[in-house]
Structures are given as C-alpha cells and as structure tokens.
C-alpha cells in the first residue's frame, strides 16, 4: 500500500500539468527526473537479488514448496489423502485449490510451509537494512545527497516489499503451473482469484515481518542483535505462542465442564488471544480463502446455526468477507509496524561515523 502511494506521489510530481501541490515536499523531490527515491529502490532491489543471502533463502523456500507440491500431488493421485474416500462432488470441484492445502503426510502442505518460512524472507531482507549502512558509514553519505531523509527508509521498505511480492507470486504461480502440468486440471476463475488474493495477503503478511526487522535494524546497532530479535519474535509467534495459549486454556478451563456457556466464553477468549498472533491471523485468512468449505472461523457452531444448513462451499466474495477482519488486521499491523520503524528512524541522529 505504501509502495503504491509512493508511486502515485511520484507520478503526480512528474506530471507537468499538475498545479496545486497535493503533498508537502513532494514537489521539490519530484521535479527532478528520475526521482532519487526510485533510483534508491532500484539499487536496493538489485543488491538484494544479487546477494548470496537471498539466493540461499530462495533456494530453501523453493525446495520446501516443491516438496510440498510433490506431497499434495501424491495425495491427490491417491484419491483424496486426508479427505478420505467418501468425497462429494462439491469437494472435488475445488481440486485445484487442494494443491495448496492437501498433503499425503510425508511433508507439510504448501500453506503451512509458506506461513512458516515466508516470514524468514522478510526478516532476512530487513534485519541489517539500516544498521549495516550505519556501521559502514554509507548512511550519512546517502543522506548527504539531495534526498529526503525518509526516502532512505521508504526505499528500503518498498524495495523489500517488491522483492517479497516477486518471490511470493513466483512461488504461487510455480505451484499453479506445476499443478496444471501434473494433474492436468485447469483452475476455474474463482479458484484463480482465490489463489491470487491469498498470495496478496501473503505478501502483506511477509511485509509485516520485513517492517518488524526494519524496526529492529533501526533500533539495534549490531546486525546480529537485530537478526536474533527478529528470529526470536518469529519463533515466539510460530512455535511458543500456541503452546502458551494452550497452557492458558488448561489453566482457565471452567470448573464445571457441563456449563456450556462458560466453556464457550473461555473458548472465545482463547480465540481472541490466538488472534493477537499475526501468524494465526494469516493462517486463518489463507486457509479460509483456499478452503471454500469453511463457513465460520468461530470455535463453535451452535446447534441453532447448524440447523437446516446445507454443506455447500461459499462463493469467493463471501469467503473474503469472512476473513476480511483478519485481512484488515494484517494490513493494519503491517502499516503500524512500518510507522513505528519510520518514527524510530526519523528521530535518530545520523552522524558521519558513529
């Protein structure tokens, strides 16, 4: 979203017909063509693409994805895998989406891999973005150029997000292509858009981790500290947070297990706690988008709600509406973490050599 805004501003600034200044300060920067901001974005992007770090990461993630596709294709060929034999037509009609969610058990499915490993890309791209430049002394050199001070951080973010989008969409389309090749079953438009929206949400989600690691790189002078804190947060949310929630759940379990209202109340609280984790939000959003059969994200379906309900998949719009709060939360968290790193960066002193 920020990248889009930056592009818009850039384009507005370049337009000679523009008379009234829309945003303060954009005029002065925009008059010079090409904009120094986009030059910095291109430089950042190029640096990342050529770095060993990125190639290694990409290799790991690609291998994981290929492995998961192999698992899902094996499961589909064996006739449904975990879905069992008694599958209805409604379930079979979304065969293509199963590429992303099915597994024969030997490896986790694509979605699990993505939610687990994709944050690593964000962390790896962002953890030394600011502090390494600061330590090498290049930061003050860049700032001494006639650029806005925040352009430096914005360029880091936009370049990182673009890179993430490229990687996520390449992986997604790689899976779709291999799916077409192996199962020979083309996706319906609805399935295609479900996958595309899922990939968009994934991009924003990885952007959140990029912003977090940017924040750490602004905050901590040492790159190793920044990387470690990023990984710590990652491990905390993906591994320990669920355990802690379970622990809390076990402790706060109602004394009377027959009191349905109390049990529901406690489960709702646990669900709320779970949803504080961005990883959980992403898993809910992505799995609902890729599994049209999911009708609710509540831990309970009451008897009232299930009475006379038909077991039918939801249309795409309804699935999106169902996870819209999750999507909003992920976007908002991404934007907020960017704002935090922005404020932290802008309030820091920049010296020639510290």
């Amino acid at each position: 979203m920020s990248a889009w805004m930056a592009k818009l501003r850039d384009r507005a600034a370049k337009s000679p017909l523009r008379s009234a200044p829309a945003s303060n300060g954009a005029d002065a920067a925009g008059r010079r063509a090409p904009s120094p901001f986009w030059i910095m974005v291109q430089k950042e992007f190029g640096d990342h693409i050529r770095s060993w770090r990125f190639i290694i990461l990409l290799g790991i993630v690609t291998l994981a994805c290929v492995g998961s596709i192999y698992a899902s294709v094996t499961a589909l060929k064996n006739g449904g895998g975990a879905g069992g034999n008694g599958q209805t037509n409604a379930e079979n009609s979304f065969l293509f989406l199963k590429m992303f969610t099915e597994s024969d058990g030997s490896l986790p499915n694509f979605l699990t891999f993505l939610s687990f490993l994709a944050p690593l890309i964000g962390i790896a791209i962002g953890f030394d973005a600011v502090n390494s430049e600061r330590n090498k002394g290049t930061l003050s050199r860049v700032i001494s150029q006639p650029v806005h001070r925040d352009d430096f951080l914005n360029a880091k973010f936009v370049a990182g997000l673009l890179l993430i989008a490229v990687v996520v969409f390449s992986l997604g389309f790689l899976v779709m292509g291999m799916g077409l090749f192996t199962i020979g079953y083309p996706p319906s438009p609805e399935e295609f858009w479900r996958v595309v929206v899922t990939l968009l949400v994934t991009t924003v989600y990885v952007g959140l981790w990029l912003n977090l690691s940017l924040l750490f790189s602004v905050r901590f002078r040492q790159a190793a500290t920044s990387a470690l804190s990023g990984i710590a947060v990652w491990i905390f949310f993906l591994v320990f947070y669920g355990m802690i929630i379970n622990l809390v759940g076990n402790v706060t379990i109602p004394s009377d297990p027959t009191d349905a209202l109390a049990v529901m109340h406690q489960q709702d609280w646990l669900m709320l706690l779970q949803r504080l984790s961005p990883a959980y939000l992403f898993q809910e959003a992505a799995s609902t988008l890729l599994l049209p059969d999911v009708r609710t994200l509540n831990p309970f379906i009451t008897q009232d709600q299930a009475y006379l309900a038909l077991n039918a998949p939801l249309p795409f719009g309804q699935s999106l509406l169902l996870v819209w709060p999750q999507v909003v939360a992920i976007v908002a968290e991404t934007a907020l973490s960017f704002a935090a790193s922005y404020v932290a960066f802008m309030r820091q002193e920049i010296r020639s050599r510290s």
């Binding site: 979203m1 920020s2 805004m5 945003s23 303060n24 300060g25 954009a26 806005h148 001070r149 925040d150 009708r295 609710t296 379906i301 009451t302 008897q303 009232d304 709600q305 009475y307 006379l308 309900a309 038909l310 039918a312 939801l314 309804q318 509406l321 169902l322 819209w324 709060p325 999507v327 909003v328 976007v331 908002a332 934007a335 907020l336 960017f338 704002a339 922005y342 404020v343 802008m346 309030r347």
Partner: protein, 383 residues
C-alpha cells in the same frame, strides 16, 4: 251227418271267424302301441326338446311301421333318430319294444301359445304331442352387463364385463362402438385382444370387456357411456355409468420456478409463491406453514387460502427473515402448503450473505492507519 257237418262247419267257420276276428282285434288294439311319458311340455324359444318314444309289440308277430312327424303346419324343425341315425321305418320283434328319439327345436321367432304335433307310426298308431311356449321369442340381439355402474378416480381405468347374445337365427357380425365424452377412451376386448367387431353364432353369446379410460381433466361427475353393437340387420344398445370422484392434487412453488434465494444475514427477502390446485376436486382451507432454521421467521400473506377450485392458482407472498447469527452459506427453508386432503412441500435453498457493513468498517480502519502514516510523513519527513 251232413246237417251236423254243415252245422259243424258253420260253427267252425263262425268260431274261426270269431277267433279270427278276436285275433285281429287283439292284434290291432293291444298288439302294437306307441308310448312316451311327457306328452305336454313347456319350452322357451330356441330350446330343443327331446322325446324318447317307445314302440311296444305285444303280439306274437313282428310288427313294422313307417315313422313320420306331422308338424301341424308350424314349420318347427324336428328329427327322428335311433342309435344316432335318422330313422324312417322301424320293426319290433314280438313281445319287445324299441325306442326312437325325437328332437324338436322351438324356433326363436315364435309367439306365445300351445302347439300340437303328431308322430305317426303306422300300425303302432299316432302319438299326439303338445308344446306350450311360455313366452314369445325375440329374434333380436341382446347386450347386457351385470354391473353397469362403476366408481373411480380420474387416473383409474374402468373395466366392464358385458355379454352379447345373438338371438337371431343366423350368424351375425357386430361392429362395436362407444359414445364416450370427449377425451375419454373406450376399448373393447375379446379374449384379451382389442377388437372393434365380433362374430356371434346364432343363439350364441360372446363376452366382451370394455376398458374405459377417463379424460385426464375429467371433473368429478357421473358419466353415461352408450355402447352399441350393430350391423345392418340387428343392433343392441347398453348404457354404462362411470362415476368419477375428484382427485386432490396440489402444487406449490415459486412464481418463476426458481427454488433458491439470497438473503443478507439478519435481512429479509420476499418470495412470490404460487399454490395451484392440479387435482379435479376443490381444495378448501389450504394453510401455509414453514420449517426454517432457528431464529428465522417465515411469514405468508395470506396465511390460508379459503378455497381453491380445480385448475386455479393463488399467489402467496412468503417473507423470509433470517437470523443475524446465521452463518454465511446455504440453508434450507422448507415451506408446506397443506389442506386436509393433500399437502405439498417446497424446499427453498437460501444463500445467506454476510453483511458488508463490517467490510467497510475494515476499509475505514485501513484508511485511518494510512492517514496516520501520512501524518507521520508530514511531521517528520518533509520538513
């Protein structure tokens, strides 16, 4: 001597004469007789009477006679047989008897009355016979059925068993026709095959089955169907009755036959429904009920239909109000139109859509966050 001889001869001659005479008298009066036990019978036209006639010979000679039948000018058909063969002459041994059969056929065209006949048997004498015809002969065709009235539904088949009697003297071929109301179908069957005409031997009868299929839209009523069996010379009519009791049938669907609808969670949806009486009897007090998910509300306007004539339809507006707690996706709403006689269900698949209100609130939140970032840009970035 001569005198005595003369007397003697006269006496002898006399006695001989008397003896001869007496002999002749016995031989004629008691020597040969004709006999049958039933000389006066009653018979119906077309019937065949059978007489056993005995010829008795009490004399010591063989007696022979020609046999003939005098029909008295009535023209009835008669045949004398013995041992299965027609007979004209009979001989009877002394002190024995012979029997001869007479079969006498009462003609079909005969009037009521007494008819006298005579069997002539020469030396055996004549045997008078009398036949009493109790009622006049018809010389016509009869078409009858034991049960001319039947009851059933519009979709049932009426099967009548009829008998066609040919009371004429010759073999007849009858064409069979039925005067059924428009749309009705009548079929004649003889021995399991469909036929349009039938041959009947004189004085014979034939069973005919009539299969009657009512018109599809036949209303409840009593229908009379005339059956004719006719040819150029003779004909017979019969009337069958088919009583149709009305069928009760009901159709209940949406006005555009679409059994699906959308509704926003917590919102309402109006559905135009149609109740149609597809039966042939009037339906009264058709009430409309529903089976809906919990906390849903389905109301009908009108709630009951007072009366619905055959073929008529009545519009009903169903208002479905969904619960705000329902999940997005499909639910089944069952609606029933029910009268005392018949009911019909309509299952409507209702797709619940989430309210987009929270979607817009989410967009607002994102816009607020972006506005905050823009504020940060303003505050720090471009000083």
């Amino acid at each position: 001597m001569h005198r005595f001889a003369k007397k003697m001869s006269v006496g002898l001659t006399l006695s001989l004469l008397v003896g001869l005479l007496s002999f002749a008298a016995t031989s004629f009066a008691a020597g040969a007789r004709i006999y049958t036990p039933y000389t006066s019978l009653s018979a119906a036209p077309g019937e065949t009477l059978s007489y056993e006639i005995e010829l008795l010979n009490d004399s010591s000679d063989i007696q022979s006679a020609d046999l003939s039948f005098d029909d008295g000018g009535h023209g009835w058909k008669a045949e004398l047989t013995a041992g299965g063969h027609p007979i004209r002459q009979v001989s009877v041994k002394p002190k024995e008897s012979q029997s001869v059969n007479l079969s006498l056929e009462v003609p079909l065209e005969v009037s009521k009355g007494e008819y006298a006949f005579k069997v002539n048997a020469g030396v055996f004498g004549a045997l008078p016979l009398q036949v009493n015809v109790a009622e006049g002969g018809t010389y016509k065709t009869e078409l009858t059925t034991e049960q001319p009235n039947m009851q059933g539904h519009t979709d049932s088949t009426f099967t009548y068993a009829m008998t066609l009697n040919n009371r004429t003297a010759s073999k007849q071929q009858y064409a069979l026709t039925a005067e059924a109301p428009a749309g009705w179908d009548a079929k004649f069957q003889v021995g399991g095959n469909n036929v349009t005409s039938v041959d009947v031997e004189p004085n014979g009868s034939q069973s005919i089955t009539v299969n009657l299929t009512p018109a599809e839209k036949a209303t409840a009523d009593t229908y009379a169907i005339k059956i004719h069996a006719a040819n150029n010379s003779t004909s017979a009519d019969a009337e069958l009755q088919a009583v149709i009791t009305g069928t009760y049938s009901l159709d209940f669907t949406t006005s555009d036959q679409r059994l699906s609808a959308n509704v926003t969670a917590g919102g309402t949806r109006h559905l135009e429904m149609v109740v149609q009486n597809t039966g042939s009897a009037e339906l009264t007090d058709v009430s409309l009920t529903s089976q809906a998910p919990t906390d849903w509300d389905v109301t009908f306007e009108p709630k009951t239909i007072r009366s619905l004539k055959p073929g008529e339809s009545a519009p009903v507006t169903a208002t479905i109000k969904s619960s705000g707690k329902s999940l997005a996706g499909d639910y089944v709403v069952g609606m029933t139109a029910q009268s005392a006689e018949k009911s019909k269900d309509a299952a409507i698949r209702v797709t619940v859509k989430s309210s987009v209100l929270w979607g817009w609130i989410g967009v607002l939140i994102i816009l607020a966050v972006l506005a905050g970032i823009y504020g940060l840009f303003r505050k720090y970035g471009r000083r």
